[in-house]
């Protein structure tokens, strides 16, 4: 990946996904949320093997099938057609969430509406009075999976910060997110708060601070 082109500013969705993939250890069991997180599967580093879990009952999920090869009874949690790789297994929902709740999945990559500096995640409801609540498996994932990564644009379409001191939306889980991959930076959730780990090309620390509604620590010198 060449992210150092001086003309570009920030990371694309694909680059955010690739950066997240690079931070997943070899041999990990991984669950990918709907949206940008799904792209992570396209960027597994060559020397690594991940095994994908989808909560509707498949371990060893493969990529989308060729057009015309879709099977309405072989789908992922986002209800899109997928494939099953050699070594896969099917199981029912009770057994699938045994894997999640029991702490057997290593990494989950999710989208976010808000992430607090303590790692709280809000990604299921704006809490608006007319909103129809819909939580799916997100709360089970953040409660059960060992490492929770978030991939998200740094701000909303309207420019409102998603990284905040305290979430205003209803929580999905408390103190669950460990790292955020945004279009502007990779940011760790540390005991001291948000800390920039890496800046996107053409992005300054000051710019990220400006678009973040919480204190931000600079890249740590090692």
């Amino acid at each position: 990946m060449n992210t150092e082109n001086s003309k570009v500013k920030g990371w694309t969705r694909e680059q955010m996904a690739e950066l997240a993939a690079m931070d997943i250890p070899d041999g990990s069991y991984v669950n990918l949320g709907i949206g940008i997180p799904e792209l992570v599967a396209k960027f597994v580093p060559e020397d690594r093997e991940f095994i994908y879990h989808t909560e509707n009952g498949l371990l060893g999920m493969g990529p989308a099938p060729e057009p015309g090869q879709e099977d309405s009874e072989l789908i992922n949690a986002g209800k899109k057609a997928v494939t099953a790789l050699p070594g896969a297994s099917f199981f029912h929902h009770g057994d699938s969430f045994t894997m999640i709740r029991g702490g057997h999945i290593d990494v989950c990559v999710l989208g976010a509406m808000q992430i607090s500096q303590e790692g709280d995640l809000a990604n299921w409801s704006t809490g608006a009075p007319d909103a129809i609540p819909a939580v799916g498996g997100a709360m089970d994932l953040v409660a059960g999976v060992k490492t929770i990564f978030v991939i998200s644009q740094h701000t909303t379409k309207n420019g409102v910060a998603k990284l905040v001191e305290k979430c205003s939306y209803p929580l999905t889980g408390k103190k669950v997110v460990t790292r955020v991959f945004s279009d502007l930076a990779i940011i760790d959730v540390t005991p001291e708060g948000f800390r920039v780990r890496r800046l996107a090309p053409g992005i300054t620390f000051e710019e990220v601070c400006e678009k973040t509604d919480a204190p931000l620590l600079p890249i740590k010198a090692y």
Binding site: N56, G57, M139, D140
Partner: protein, 236 residues
């Protein structure tokens, strides 16, 4: 001779009464017993409490059952319908109640209901609004919320193959909630793509042992919901 085969979907669901609690298998369209649901629409039982992960697609299957105003309450994790305004419209009009349950807790509550476990603790929803009003207990330093087992009067199930005793196997991710729902209903009603002879299913690969199944009806060529939705089919 034990023979759980029923000739038609209409006969299979005939004793579902107004006010019944009905678990319906499937995750989205995969594993959804569309023909049994359509028979239930023809049958007309009302005031149903339905347990399913979603609220159906388009205006067929579960979405049509809801659209026909036969469902007074949904228990589900993700009620947003794809290609359908059926549930949102009724919900906003106050015509249908909603109990939102995280997907894994929903699965475990059903499994618990079938396994004689009246209640259990889970970390899911702790520190979120979905735990409001629920008992929290700290066990070994972590907070957990108390959740109760779920049972139903009827379960409507789709499977790939069945035998006359009621042993079932499923197809790929169409398995999903079906096997646990089989265990948690007083009367479990199954539509199978094929009914095979007793002994044809290897005892090692049976997913639902026959003790959980009451009725089996063969539906050789079940509809594919997404195709119906694309074609704009409306069952009601």
């Amino acid at each position: 001779m034990i023979d759980k085969r029923i000739k038609t979907v209409a006969e299979a669901i005939a004793d579902i009464t107004d006010g019944s609690v009905v678990m319906i298998g499937g995750f989205g369209e995969a594993g959804s017993p569309s023909e049994l649901i359509h028979a239930l629409i023809d049958h007309g039982a009302k005031d149903l409490t339905v347990i399913n992960n979603n609220t159906g697609n388009g205006e067929v299957g579960l979405a049509a059952l809801i659209g026909n105003e036969q469902v007074s309450k949904m228990i589900c994790s993700y009620p947003r319908s794809s290609h359908s305004k059926v549930f949102p419209t009724l919900y906003r009009a106050g015509k249908i109640a909603l109990e939102i349950v995280p997907q894994g807790t929903l699965a475990e509550r059903i499994r618990a209901g079938g396994a004689g476990i009246p209640a259990f603790y889970t970390a899911t929803t702790v520190d979120t609004p979905l735990a409001d009003g629920k008992e929290i207990r700290n066990i070994d330093g972590r907070d957990y919320v108390l959740e109760y087992g779920l049972k139903a009067d009827f379960a409507l199930i789709k499977c790939e193959k069945a035998d006359r005793l009621g042993n079932l196997i499923y197809n790929k991710t169409a398995r999903n909630f079906n096997p646990i729902m089989c265990t948690a209903a007083n009367t479990t009603i199954v539509q199978a793509r094929k009914i095979v002879a007793v002994g044809d299913l290897d005892p090692e690969i049976v997913v639902t042992p026959n003790v959980y199944v009451d009725r089996v009806v063969e539906v050789a060529n079940p509809v594919i919901e997404s195709q119906l939705v694309e074609e704009g089919v409306c069952y009601i």
